[in-house]
Amino acid sequence: MQLTQGDYGEAYLANRLHIGQIHQQIGLEPRWYMGAYSIYMQLAFPRVMTAFEHDLGKGQRIFLALLKIITLDTELAITTYIAASEEIISSQSREILEIATPVVQVWSGVVAAPLIGTLDSQRAQQFTERLLERIVEMRASVALVDITGVPMMDTRTAQYLLEAISAVRLLGSQVILTGVRPAIAQTLVHLGIDLSNVATRPSLEAGLRLGLDMLELQVLHRDGKR
């Protein structure tokens, strides 16, 4: 669709957006098509002026019209490019969120959810959702939430954790908070977070033992000793 075709309505807009999409897909960066437009203007200018030398005023108005449509085209190209890039970024962050919140079954009726990294509100929500989904899916009555990989604990993170724990309880399951390091324990006390209703264990292993115990199971050594 040409720059000079005369109708700049819906079909033109759709065409330009489509071209922008193709540019993005083939990896043609904005600098190349902006450069191309610049070269176009440089080559077209003398030709337009020569063609309208009998009416330079008109030649000028035509050239300005060309400048406007090229600017509009460029805007569309950049808008499409940015929209596509933003889409990539958001799909990647969705992916990262999913990778970052695994919930795995470690025993029949027991799921483990290792938390790694800082917990912001979006992640906390994602985490709680996945945890609840998996608990229902696996018919788990015990969920081990392991915070070994949580670098630091603040009031907000603790609040998110407590909310997740309450939500699990509403499903009738129990949460065991594992991987509570001494520093985190101190911080929790210092922040005045009340975890007295929550079973906590220093390690995932200790948490699993407690979980199995809750299910009235125990791991025995082959010789019969625990």
Binding site: Q2, L3, E10, A36, F52, A65
Partner: protein
Amino acid sequence: MDTHIPQVVVTMTEWEQRKKFVGFTDEDAQLLQELGPVADMYVDEVVEGLYRQFLSFGET
């Protein structure tokens, strides 16, 4: 890579606003249409110039 791009990145309303902002009027559309036959004459030269320029830059 299959990237999903939102279908409507720019709505017609926004497109009209953008045209208004740069002062693109019906007269401009008319002028561009008048440029058509002239552009047809220089288009080959421009395309050739573009290719020359692109080819002289190895990265493309």
